[in-house]
Symmetry: D2
Subunit: 368 residues, 4 copies
């Protein structure tokens, strides 16, 4: 099976199940000498947590990260960093029904076929959004590495929820506001409108989707190893591995398909003695290589599959038609929670490529 490892130099292995003992990740390849404490990881993990009981109903995990290896006297050692959070608030009985009545929009049935019934189906097991807690842990290490060594900042936010798109805003707005509101919107005003959409859906027993935009600034020219390990290709893969992602685009993205070359090409100019592009329709990646301009990616997330509304499914025991009402705690929109995960995946890919392209050395100097 083997598919739980991502990266070439900064490698992340994901482990754990929704209703098993823990959820975690191991990072192999983090340079030695990075100052790292559990608080650095905890902070990121907290950003993924339910921020408001009104729009998020996930079980109240405390999600306390423990670093089990790879850090010594406050610095990474170059050895694998194993991190995990213990699952505390697990109620197995909530999920007994899904063993035989696969939930539409979920992997339940397909995992059942693929693993011939051996998969841990409780709460979706490996397919639960809960698994992304491990992504965020690994991303926290990557983020700190990128920030400390290269000054790279990664800013994700909910660009659109339930069809409501954020109005005009600057990156600074987004950076300042996204974690100040419970929907991770770039402005308070957008937050208000998005929150309303989510609550409406929730009242109907339904759910809504949305879009996360993520921007990485201060990325030097030269990350990405074409032709196949193109930077945008690896980012796309990482984003699509987030549960619920249905599409990904860079810069002008799908709109580029309707532009002409003279509109879309980013003209080169000299600014402050440096060659930059006049605009950034390419979204910071051309030919699979970072251009030095902000990397801009958008990810479409589907509406939460777990909805209280009655749905049609099949009872696996006799292939009879069945009706299903999903109970339990499910966010009516996964987008707010996905923001931290998108940032984590961006950080993981950038850290990997920064090491590959020689921008981050195998050992950081003390004082760096």
């Amino acid at each position: 099976m083997r598919g739980n490892i991502i990266g070439e130099r900064f490698i992340v292995l994901s482990f754990g199940e929704s209703h098993g003992r823990c959820v975690g990740a191991v990072v192999d390849g983090c340079p030695a000498g990075l100052a790292l404490r559990e608080e650095d990881v905890q902070r990121e993990l907290d950003l993924r947590r339910p921020s408001s009981p009104l729009i998020s109903t996930e079980r109240r995990e405390e999600d306390v990260v423990e670093i089990l290896s790879g850090v010594f006297e406050g610095y990474t050692t170059g050895a694998p960093i194993c991190m995990l959070t213990w699952n505390r608030d697990v109620k197995g009985e909530d999920y007994a029904e899904i063993r035989y009545k696969p939930r539409p929009g979920h992997a339940d049935y397909y995992a059942h076929v693929k693993y011939e019934g051996f998969n841990d189906y409780r709460g979706g097991g490996r397919f639960s959004g809960r698994i992304t807690a491990g992504f965020v842990m690994a991303g926290a290490v990557a983020k700190k590495l990128l920030r400390d060594v290269l000054g790279i900042r990664i800013i994700g936010y909910s660009l659109e929820i339930g069809g409501v798109r954020a109005g005009e805003f600057t990156l600074e707005d987004a950076e300042r506001n996204r974690y100040e509101n419970d929907v991770r919107a770039p402005t308070p005003e957008a937050a208000e409108r998005m929150r309303k959409k989510i609550l409406e859906a929730r009242e109907r027993g339904d759910s809504v989707g949305g879009m996360v935009e993520c921007v990485a600034v201060n990325v030097p020219i030269g990350l990405g190893e074409p032709v196949f390990d193109a930077l945008d290709a690896d980012i796309a893969k990482a984003m699509m591995a987030i549960p619920g992602a249905r599409g990904v685009e860079f810069g002008a993205g799908f709109a580029a398909a309707r532009m002409t070359g003279s509109q879309h090409n980013d003209p080169l100019i000299v600014k402050g003695g440096r060659i930059v592009s006049e605009k950034n329709d390419a979204g910071g990646v051309i030919g699979g290589i970072s251009t030095g301009m902000p990397i801009i990616v958008r990810i479409a997330f589907k509406p939460t599959s777990s909805i209280p509304l009655e749905q049609k499914t099949v009872d696996l025991r006799d292939l009879s038609e069945a009706r299903l009402r999903i109970r339990g705690r499910h966010d009516p929109c996964i987008v707010p929670r996905a923001v931290a995960v998108v940032e984590a995946m961006m950080a993981i890919v950038l850290a990997d490529h920064a090491i590959r392209a020689g921008f981050i050395p195998p050992v950081l100097r003390r004082g760096d």
Copy 2:
């Protein structure tokens, strides 16, 4: 650097340059016992070739594939299959200017920085669309493997060009028509409208973008190795590695972001004794696993970056502002040519995952 290999079990290594001696690929991991002749690869390669001098102006390469290894007495041996086509019609002088005047929208400048000027800049070198001839060779092997063993068919076509979208059509229409017209449209009618858009752009000295849709049918349930090597994640990576790709989406894709859960979820039903979904908004992949429904992916391609219109750039020798008029043979739209490449990448990923998931054995039986 090292980034020219894709796949885990069915592995493709791309080599060659636009204006070097050849363009090719090596496949490592193709099962032994696949009936394979040069004609099988040549046929696919021909589909990538300029179909009409009116809308495609690439140099008239004959692109004759040679299989150098890994095939014996008409069957693959399990050893690496090295394939290439010799570059014949190469004129180095056409490209001297781009050494110092990087073309907007191209990797010229970024590759120059990354490789510190050592890259083969002629015709874009490794960043030329010509490199995809090697993708198509490898894809031809993957396609035949998928078809012979699993009956999988892969159908790509131009869904939209220059803002013109194909009207209603069936998959059968697309399969029958796409290689019968020079823009790879699913219907003759759409072809006519798209062709017009391309010619208009060409007359203006400009270019247009578009969208390729690709469908894979007969894919069994269970391809994909979550959480990271999710099937859609790996397809997304492969597609984004195609020069000019700016976005990728599955099933309802970005539209899913505006749907509700009750709209988007694909209800499960029993049909012909088999569990299927009533519709396929998921595009054939849920939780990173193939669902048995057709896999549907759309890729946005930007307009050709090489346009005859004068563009702004910088002269690298003195950082002075410069004007650039790109001469030479360039398609005013890369979408028609990309169709064969998209199909190839889809085949490569599916073959890799079919082997990983145990659907294709290490050796095919004679007579299979």
Copy 3:
């Protein structure tokens, strides 16, 4: 850095430090459906433990394994299996001296240079033999997989210790006796003589080396993926990764260098309707492929580097000449303890290659 992962399909990631919180391993790629309980792993782990206070003086870790993920209702799920044992009996103060006075024969100095002082030096950190507890955990899973699916048995034993070589014995002798005596010898008589050598060395404040032989029986023809992932090449790598290994040989091994072709070639004969070789000087691998004959490998282990005798070294603080007396608990011979580790590494490589060559499916059937 990134070097803590081994395998292609059955993948093992090692984590933990000698004096950190824990030592463990994650297996990614174990097929779903393998019956696995903690006792299965504990049993193997116990075989690695100090068997006799006379010849082994390692700290009395209880080494209780915990399986944190990847197993559900007694069966593997196909998800990563994270296993660890908590370090309990850790005294950091014992090892303060080695920070500045690197121990001859140890990685202390070289790790200090490589990781620029960031490595966890306590007890050797990642370079401690203690790390192999994780190898044994992963090996336990691999062993069970090989035995349950293919009936493969792996038998390691101390062939030679301190120059004392075991006399004549059969594989059955070895299988029966090795874990019945504290030096893992194939016969009680050899055990007696080896034990004496170890005790003599211990009394002198010195240590002795030795040789482990490991045999795998019931391996089918066809494991190994030449040319580079040859079965013997991958076994050699795995064995050389065990701390203290200095050489590895297959079948006749180095003696083959002094044989003639007519002596060394294994003639093919038919026996019981099956083609086998008359003898097995090749040690079960020819051309990198398993031959169906027992795989026979021998690994040379150096004498324990940590000895009580005074040794010459350098004080890193001022590059002055220094004397070092290593205190603390160290086995005067690592060979007995290495036996379980050698078996584990053999199992890990065979499991990986059995999956790669299609002998083990992605999911085991219930009842298998």
Copy 4:
């Protein structure tokens, strides 16, 4: 199948068959900016060639290397370097017999089973020593990289042939003499005695084995990524992948198994302001990390399996007992030819690890 790729950053893919169209290799991951011409590779390839018709009878291939990609204006570009030599002197008819009468000591039978008869059996196909021509091409690139950037020299030689071991000699002797005599011995005197052994075997219709020793000097401290990608582990794997290798050892090697700790440990001293070890029983690698001392490895090669003497085998058509007399051109000792291959594999592994550990940058500066 997929097993023809070695390395993580400096990656070598081997392709081609003994009696196919060509034998070659692709290097992915060679830094840009390395001065490289076909002559650099040809020189190494020539060292692998039959040096004397008396002791080597391989077909008289010219083995002219062609570099097909990845080099531009005399420098590597960072793109994959595809190299090959065309097979010219191929006579298929010589090998028809081995299709049904597998040669003892060869992979014939095991490959036949593994690939179910689809393998190219002519001349052993992928299992022929001829494949190593590709190894040497890739090794030539690695060698030049190591020498140009780090000043690393790699010196291999025949240490022992047919039981005749070279007498006392210095590394300088070996470096000066090995390619001056046809058996690659470190001294003319040893060459004379080894040559005699080979000729005696040849006259008897038999063959002899031997041992290659390979030393790498000027390797900095810190290559190797423990625990699994230990430098000695990766070297061991690479060496064991050479056809005919039966064992590998480092420094004192198997003799270390009979030493005491006080004998074997290399005491640390200060010499010329640098910490070095007083002797080098560890062979330049401790704890999987290079120590800065010369890396010393010995590889045992079996006697050539193809001998003119009649041998016992089985006719695959009816499982009857058969006799086989191998005709054709076969060296009575592969050791002299293996020397260049051993050096190549050493170079490939060191280049890979030098890049991994940050000693070689992704792009070399002009003038380096």
